[in-house]
Symmetry: C2
Subunit: 235 residues, 2 copies
Amino acid sequence: MDRSETSTAVPRPWKSFRVRQRDGDAKRVAVLETAAHLFLERGYRSTSLRELASLLKITKPALYYYFQNKEQILVECYRAGIASIEGLLEEAELNNGNGLQRVEAYLRVYATAVVSHDFGRCVAMLDDSELSPSARREVRTLKRRIDASIRGFIEEGIEDGSINDCNPKLAAFAAAGAINWIGTWYRPDGGLSRDSIAAGFAELLTRGLARHGSAPMRKKTRKTATRRIPKQLQE
Amino acid sequence: MDRSETSTAVPRPWKSFRVRQRDGDAKRVAVLETAAHLFLERGYRSTSLRELASLLKITKPALYYYFQNKEQILVECYRAGIASIEGLLEEAELNNGNGLQRVEAYLRVYATAVVSHDFGRCVAMLDDSELSPSARREVRTLKRRIDASIRGFIEEGIEDGSINDCNPKLAAFAAAGAINWIGTWYRPDGGLSRDSIAAGFAELLTRGLARHGSAPMRKKTRKTATRRIPKQLQE
C-alpha cells in the first residue's frame, strides 16, 4: 500500500475514496464504518484505536496497515460521507427544474444522507477544531462545497424568479445548519421515518425561500433522466 | 463558599446562576467568560485549567475556589447562556401576537443570543457527549426547554391558523438547528451584522411555517408592554 496516497493532505478526496471502493477494499470500509459509529457515539477524542481494533477483532498494528493514524480515519469518514452524498445527488437528477425546485431536491438529498448512515452524519456533525491544520483545511473545503452548492441554487432561484429576494449566503447557512443539526437529535428508532424527515425538512426550508405566490413545493422533486451532477460539485 | 451549591447536579440552574450574579461575583463571571471563549475556540477537551488560570493571571488553586472542576465550568457557561436568553425573552415581550409572530420573536431572540456572546454560543454549540451522566442530563434538560418553547409556539400557531399544518416537532428542530449552527460559521468580524443575522434567520425560518396567504412577517415583533415570560420557560 502506498502510504503517500493516504496522507491527510491528499488533494483529490473524492477520487481517492472512490478508487479504493472500486478496489473492493471491504476491510478498510469496515474499519471506517465502525470508526464513524464510535466517533459519533462517544466523540472523536474519546475513541481509542485500541478499542476500535478490539471491536473489529483485529490487532492495533493491523489498523496501521490501513490508516496512518486516528486523524486520517476521521478524514476518510468525511470523504466517504461526501462520496455518498454525491451518489445520491446523481440519483436525484438535479439538472432540471427552477432554482427553488433544485434547492429542495438538494436539501432532500443532503438530509437523506444525514439520516441514512454514519458517514453522512460525520459530514454533518464532525467537529474539526481538534484536527491538524492540513486535515482541518481539507475538511473545511469539503464542507464549503456543500454550502456553495446550496447557495448556487438559491442564486439561480432568485434569478429565475422562483425564490424570493434574500441573502443567499444567510439562506444557505440556515438550510444547511438545520440539516446538519439533524445529527444531534436523530435516532433511527425514534418516531420519525427517514423519508418523512428528509422530505419534511426540504419542504419546510424551501417554503421559506419561495417567492410569494409560488406553487407549493410538494411533488416537484422527480425529474427526467439526465444524470449529470451540479456544477458546484464537479471537480 | 458552599461547595454543595455549585455541584454539577444543582436542580435549579436558572436561580443558582442569577443569585450569583446578584451577589456580584465578578471574578467568577470573568472565569466563566474566559473559559467559554476557550471552549469555543479550541474545544472543551483541549482547554486546560492551567491555561485558563494563566490567561486570567490567577493560580490554578484559585480556580478551585470558584469551581470544582472543568466540567462544572462548562455547565455554568451553559446556565449563563440560558439565563441570558431568558433575559432577552423578557425584553422581547412575547405574550402578544399570534403563534407565528411569537415563533418569529422567539427565534430572533435565540439567534441574537447565539451571535451576541460566547455564553449564547455555548448553549448552541456545546457538545455534551463528553460530560458525566449527571451533567449531561442537566445540559440536555436545558436544551430541551428551548426546543419545547419553539414547539409550543408552533402548536399555538397551528391552532390559531397563523401557521400551516405541519409536524411541530420537526419544524422546531429545523428552526433551532439552523440557529444553533450559526455558532459554527459566525465570526464577529464577518460581513454580516448581528441584527441582520438574527432578523434574517427569524424571517426565513418563519416564512416556511406561515400559512399560505398570511401577511409577510416583517415589522411584527414589536409588542405592547406586558413583560411575562412564556409558560414554557416558567419554572
